[in-house]
Symmetry: none
Subunit: 193 residues, 4 copies
DNA sequence: TATGAATGAGGGTTCATTCAT
DNA sequence: GATGAATGAACCCTCATTCAT
């Protein structure tokens, strides 16, 4: 209707949409932290200052949103693998430090660890993304450590990561339970014999 | 089998109610397995072939029901502790076997491990019951093993059990993840140094 | 089964039942006071220390119970009519004092006034009883006062009593509202012209 | 009819919602009439042809709905006070006619009088609204009449209105009971001496 | 595109009433 | 007769998802 809007509307829309998407990601991150990854859609929309429809447009499933929220950190974690392997004295140290990174990531995102183990179909995409991106990284570290004889050779990267993920569930709710300590013990248990 | 079940009419009425209660416990166990411990009240009632009111009569809160469903096994597990300690060659073996029992219990009751770590207020009673009953048992085994120098002395029974419980979450959903293996690794990580 | 119970059981039952009935009436009166005439059946049963079935046996409908609870006072009120008419200086004074009695009765029985005006079918018997017993008494007083020219002649006993009953609804909930004052005003309004 | 209803899409959406809200108000009024102010939410929704969620969106609490249903008439009644005072021959006539309006309002809205005297916490907002809006109006009329020596000076507007409200309870259920007649008697009782 | 109103399935809880014991 | 366990209808409320504007 307004004449002057047509000229730049393509670009405008893009910019608007991108700004909206970022607001949504921030809002979702905050909501996940407060209520877990199943935070009510309306909460997220309200925090972002958009309508609920906008969420569904940008992120058709909840998993899409969760993946998007954590993508940056997942990428950072994935990229840290090779770097650590190259920079540490032994593969075992690299593995331990990489797992520390992974734990730090999960522990500070309440609800993420829960989502990772949820069998809710809505999170399939999330599972797939995490596995595709991180399991190979972990596998390389694990293989290197195993090749050096520093860890048992019969542990799969997938199960190790699932174990670490599980240990991180509920972090922060209970001062008597520190996931980092338990993950350390688990990693210690990887030593041969 | 039980002597007092035949006799007078007073006991008869009780027998009826008890049979119903057992049906409810079985139904709830099945529902928990299928849908987790937050299974809809109506589902449980339907499985048991009773009205919803009957559930509320027997178990006013959900926690009451959950506790009742698992009480037998919790008791059995608790009682196994001293027995194993007395019967095994070393405290460490007793600890390992007791944890195997605990894991077997959790793994076959999908939903229980989830309930144990839920921060939903409805499960406080459940948490309390588990802690009261099992943590001391675990503590004795752990202390004995530590005294024998077989495990690190700086691990609390509570955190160990929480860790084991967490590792059991999601068991059975995924053939690539076997909680028993990971718990073994965790226990191996308890060795000194 | 027990031999010695058969001999006197008829009499025993009677005594038991009567005791039960009285306990129920007391319990119901207390429950009505606390929760109104729609007090939960189970509350009443619990207060009386009997099962709910016992209530239904003695008082098939709620109205039966309500009527029974208030019968004594209704009777007393009904009997006071002729006495007052005979003993007071004028019919108008008798009428006023009789209405005071009625108000006192209603005001101290929270929930009764509400029940009297309820159109719930369960209270038909209650309405009928009140009307049968009290309206004629009021009518005699009213007629006498009208005959003496002390009150308007066009007011029916039924509507007067309903009006008084309505004014008593909610008594005691609100210190700013005193049914007695308003009933006095209503009665004053009966004066001719 | 309303000028701003055509125009832009923003207003259009509003118009839809407003139409819905009006349907809800009508439906609620009908439901209140049939079942009292505690009419089931679903009934009201069904009458309005909307889902229950729509009710909760527009009127989060029942009191909100009740207030909204009666707001127009309350306002009209409140505004009639000063008009009558200015237009009638004597304050007493103005008072009587204003009370007639109030009674007409209550009598045609079965369930409202009941709601007014309910001690259910859900109706606090309703009470407050009625009191805030109507008691001052009544007080002015009453004061004027008292100043003119036409009515007793010791009657508060609040208690008078409560009395009138109470007399209107159950109107229409019983042909033998006409609230208007009794209110007239009550008002007549306000005359000095 | 963005909005947010509407929908309605889904889950929780209470309580009057019946009926086997 | 008395009991109280069982039933299930009837309410309430929330929230994910769709879709008209």
């Amino acid at each position: 209707m307004a004449v002057d809007e047509s000229g730049v509307s393509g670009a405008r829309r893009r910019a608007d949409a991108r700004r909206n998407e970022q607001a949504l990601l921030d809002a979702a991150a905050a909501a996940f932290l407060a209520c877990g990854v199943n935070a009510p859609v309306r909460d997220i929309a309200a925090r972002a200052g958009v309508g609920v429809g906008t969420i569904y447009r940008h992120f058709p499933t909840r998993a899409d949103l969760v993946v998007a929220v954590y993508r940056h950190q997942v990428e950072a974690c994935a990229e840290a693998g090779p770097t650590l392997l190259a920079g540490c004295d032994t593969p075992c140290v690299a593995l331990a430090r990489w797992i520390d990174l992974f734990v730090e990531f999960l522990v500070t995102k309440h609800g993420l660890a829960e989502a990772l183990r949820s069998d809710d179909a809505a999170f399939e995409a999330l599972h797939a993304y995490f596995l595709d991106r991180l399991v190979p990284v972990c596998a390389r570290l694990l293989d290197a450590a195993a090749a050096a004889g520093e860890v048992r050779a019969d542990v799969a990267a997938y199960e190790l990561m699932r174990g670490v993920g599980n240990l991180c569930i509920g972090a922060g709710h209970d001062p008597r339970y520190d996931p980092r300590r338990l993950v350390d013990i688990l990693v210690a248990g990887l030593r041969p014999q």
